[in-house]
């Protein structure tokens, strides 16, 4: 199952604090995180609060991952620019791509259309997750994150992690 493999790859790359807000596009991952206490997954109330939890975990010595729907990028933007990016708090953001190619519910279409530009504008390096390149995607992003000590994003399309 790809969701379990994805979590295994995250752990292999040193990630050991998991928090976020769910999305149906990575439902498979959250199902495992919710079911297995060993991950210590913290279900956050908002995406900015998840980023705050992640920052606290980093200050305490952990390497965090924050899961969110791309609608949550808007909620999280102030935390990203006035907490993580200025204090150099490395975080992997796993963000779903609702509204990809303009095919989705109306509330997802605008963020879906601008999400890549939005990440570029914020200076957040990102990659698109694909089943075939999952290991390399996580490793490459993690290398960038460690080198820069800044947040990076892994964009999750519909399919692989559901």
């Amino acid at each position: 199952m790809l969701s379990q493999r994805f979590l295994d790859v995250l752990e292999t790359n040193g990630y050991d604090f998991f928090t976020g807000v769910p999305c149906s596009l990575f439902e498979g991952v959250t199902r495992i995180l919710d079911a297995e206490p060993r991950y210590g997954y913290v279900s956050a109330v908002r995406e900015d609060a998840a980023l705050g939890l992640a920052a606290g975990a980093f200050l305490g010595g952990r390497q965090p991952v924050v899961f969110m729907q791309n609608s949550g990028l808007g909620v999280g933007v102030n935390a990203l620019v006035s907490l993580h990016q200025i204090y150099d708090i490395p975080t992997l953001i796993v963000v779903s791509w609702r509204g990809q190619d303009g095919r989705d519910a109306p509330e997802h279409l605008i963020m879906g259309a601008v999400m890549e530009d939005f990440l570029r504008l914020l200076g957040i390096p990102f990659r698109h997750l694909a089943a075939a390149t999952l290991t390399d995607d996580v490793a490459a992003l993690t290398a960038t994150m460690r080198e820069t000590r800044k947040p990076v994003a892994l964009v999750v399309p519909k399919g692989p992690l559901q």
């Binding site: 604090f17 928090t19 210590g40 913290v42 956050a44 109330v45 908002r46 900015d48 609060a49 998840a50 980023l51 705050g52 939890l53 992640a54 920052a55 606290g56 975990a57 980093f58 200050l59 305490g60 010595g61 952990r62 965090p64 102030n78 935390a79 620019v81 006035s82 907490l83 200025i86 204090y87 150099d88 708090i89 000590r149």
Partner: protein, 192 residues
Amino acid sequence: MTRADAVARVAAALPPRALAIACNGMIGRELYTHGDAPSRFYMIGSMGLASSIGLGLALVRPSRTVVVFDGDGNVLMNMGALGSVAAAGAANFYHVVFDNAAHGSTGDQRTISDRVPLDRVAAAAGYRSAARVRAGEPLDAPLAVLFASPGPSMLLVEVERGNQPGIGRVELEPRQLADRFRAAAGACEPSC
């Protein structure tokens, strides 16, 4: 009591090896001025997130006392975080809220905490305890009780409006603040 005085008293009463997270604005600047140490983290932006940062820290450092220096404006901005704190039930989490029912750092504009009692919100959310120190009441005994009991707990301290003239700004760069805090928190063992 002025807020700066209350912040200094809480800083002086912190248990040994406690880690402190201060919210943005005047409260962080007052803690920096009256009680700076590597074990203090000053949040200069990201308003509303001090309790979330403190909770993340408390969860991964269960052997250390974590104290969040917060303000009414900050708590109101991300009130759902009170639910996260209560749900997590971290016994090492202590939330001290300096409440002047105003946004002190932007000119004392009113908040709504005079009509929305944040200690009662915390208690209803499920904090193990939540107490209020009213204006003019002594602070030392409630602080001793707070730190002698397991958290998650809130102590709300009513303080006067107004800012201490000439209060300093945090002079360290954000990354320096993060790095010295991580060292103080034992996050760098064996290395950073």
